[in-house]
Amino acid sequence: MNSVFVICEIDEGKIADVSLELLTKGRTLSNTLGCKLEAVVLGHKLNGVEEELFPYGADVVHIGDDKRLDPYTTLPHTSVITGLFENEKPQIGLLGATPLGRDLGPRVSSALKSGLTADCTALEIGDHEDKKEKKSYKNLLYQIRPAFGGNIVATIINPDCRPQMATVREGVMKKEIYSPTHKGEVKTIDVNKFIKPEDTVVKVIERHMEKGRVNIKNSSVIVSGGYGMGSKENFEALYELADVLGAEVGASRAAVDAGFAPHDRQVGQTGVTVRPKLYIACGISGQIQHTAGMEESAMVIAINNDSAAPINKVADYVITGDVMDIIPKMIKSYKKNSK
């Protein structure tokens, strides 16, 4: 039985969270299918990387270690993954919906003429009956994703082409150790077989990465602002409230598009999915695109001057009024009562 493959990504010298989340999901899928779970890691100086992956259930770890694979550029990675997939014939190939995964995934799927579904929010195994062609399919990957700004959820399948490929955003799947003692096999990829001289034409001249990026996903309280905040200056009030509460600041897509907040703070389908203990939504109208990324919060407070805003439907508490007037009151109250 052909395997489930997860293409792993390295972040600050470690396997990225999104890759471990995908391995956790991949383990469930491969258990359902009765096949192996295999991980692929490409980069340079990867000694011992397999030890990070085995506890998440990888049965095989393919390692391609070469200086042409770090830093990441599209073509050498595409050639190695495409070549590996042609040899190994996975039935499923998963990638993180990160800048890397969304650069590499489409390229590989085009080269293999397989399908790719971007930014899935759920992956399941199921059957399919094609009534027109009178064909039935067993154990396909249901690639479930929102579309149309989140107003609909589509189930996409890939009946005839392999691998069935999908990308998933960070934080959408849960990361869970499968077994701390689980061990698998390491296979070295002979990258020289795959990388062509013309693959190295794109050069990274400079690279500035910020260490310890904003990680709103792991924050237990999130103060989030929308377009209704009105300006980047007004967003400062949210940082102030967040600072007092020990929270992180999030933002809706409209607020990010308007330049009120950076993209790494965006909550929602095209941003991060969060499940904090408390989510305070300030000046957010609550389009599905946004609520889909925060509705699993344990508690939601919505502050909005529109008493009919859709966000109120997913809120436990609604405060109707001027955000810029309410936030200082919250800060004052918290300072008074927390001692």
Partner: protein, 290 residues
């Protein structure tokens, strides 16, 4: 020497502004209530192309879009802002295309245009958010790609230098021309329409749009060939029909569901200090805060 630049653009429903009337009573999307717009990140891509055109004299910017007849609107939008001409690729044969079949059709149209130096496109379109068409066009044409671009610094001596905006940093990369560049929403916004260009191109039309026009108008187009928006059907481009539309699409939509929210039990508070104080106390007491 000037550059030959193609901007890939898509007309999309404005899913960012899904208002209260955008959902029908039965919970389905009321597509008619959504305005059809120039995909926002494609606008950022157009701006990058126009800047290159200003920088390198003799450059030409061609807008290419695939879609129904009314997508000619976004070609006009491009012309009003400084694009030199446009191509509308439209045919029922392209209907039902997934990203792979779309990319294939677009790459065939680009092959017809020939000797292109740079293909720029928005990173992704707001109706699907897949970010796949740019890289897949690059693959179909066997060209290098630079995604998540924020600024094209230069495109000369056969090389393009681009700043990329990633999740938590920036990267400066150099790629050989020709290549495909997809532009991020964090790139500079597109310039507004220029009044002069609006006057010049407001009567630009595709051949289908000209069908019911008066003889006077047709004479005008004969005198001013720039008023013609190229309209290509599947017969105008060289394609393998098996790779188009539904048959060229490996992915199929099995099921579509509308999203329906379960309303929670909600407590409504006033904005007076007392109410807010009560709430904060409660949150501290039940350890949600602190």
């Amino acid at each position: 020497m000037g550059l030959k630049i193609i901007v890939l653009a898509k007309q999309v429903p404005d899913t960012r502004n899904v208002g209260k009337d955008a959902m029908k009573a039965d919970g389905t999307v009321n597509r008619a209530a959504l305005e059809a717009i120039f995909n926002p990140e494609d606008m950022n891509a157009l701006e990058q192309a126009l800047r290159l055109k200003e920088k390198y004299k003799g450059s030409k910017v061609t807008l290419l879009t695939m879609g129904p007849g009314r997508a000619a609107d976004i070609i006009r939008e491009g012309l009003f802002r400084g694009a030199d001409d446009g191509v509308l690729l439209t045919d029922r044969a392209f209907a039902g295309s997934d990203t792979l079949a779309t990319s294939y059709a677009i790459s065939c149209a680009i092959n017809k245009i020939k000797e292109v130096d740079i293909i720029v496109a928005g990173r992704q379109a707001i109706d699907g958010d897949t970010a796949q068409v740019g890289p897949q066009v690059a693959d179909k044409m066997n060209l290098p790609q630079v995604t998540y671009a924020e600024e094209i610094y230069s495109a000369e001596k056969g090389k393009i230098v681009v700043k990329r905006r990633l999740d938590r940093g920036v990267e400066k990369v150099e790629a050989p021309l020709p290549c495909v560049v997809t532009v991020n929403g964090s790139a500079p916004a597109c310039r507004p329409r220029a009044a002069k260009l609006l006057m010049k191109y407001k009567h630009a039309k595709t051949i289908s749009e000209r069908q019911n026009e008066s003889e006077d108008y047709l004479n005008l187009v004969n005198d001013r060939p720039y008023l013609n928006i190229n309209e290509w059907t599947v017969n105008d481009v060289e394609t393998d029909d098996n790779m188009l539309g539904l048959s060229g699409s490996p992915t199929k939509v099995k099921k579509i569901e509308n999203v329906v929210f379960q309303a929670k039990e909600t407590k409504v508070l006033s904005d007076n200090e007392g109410d807010i104080d009560e709430l904060i106390k409660e949150l501290i007491d039940n350890h949600t805060l602190g």
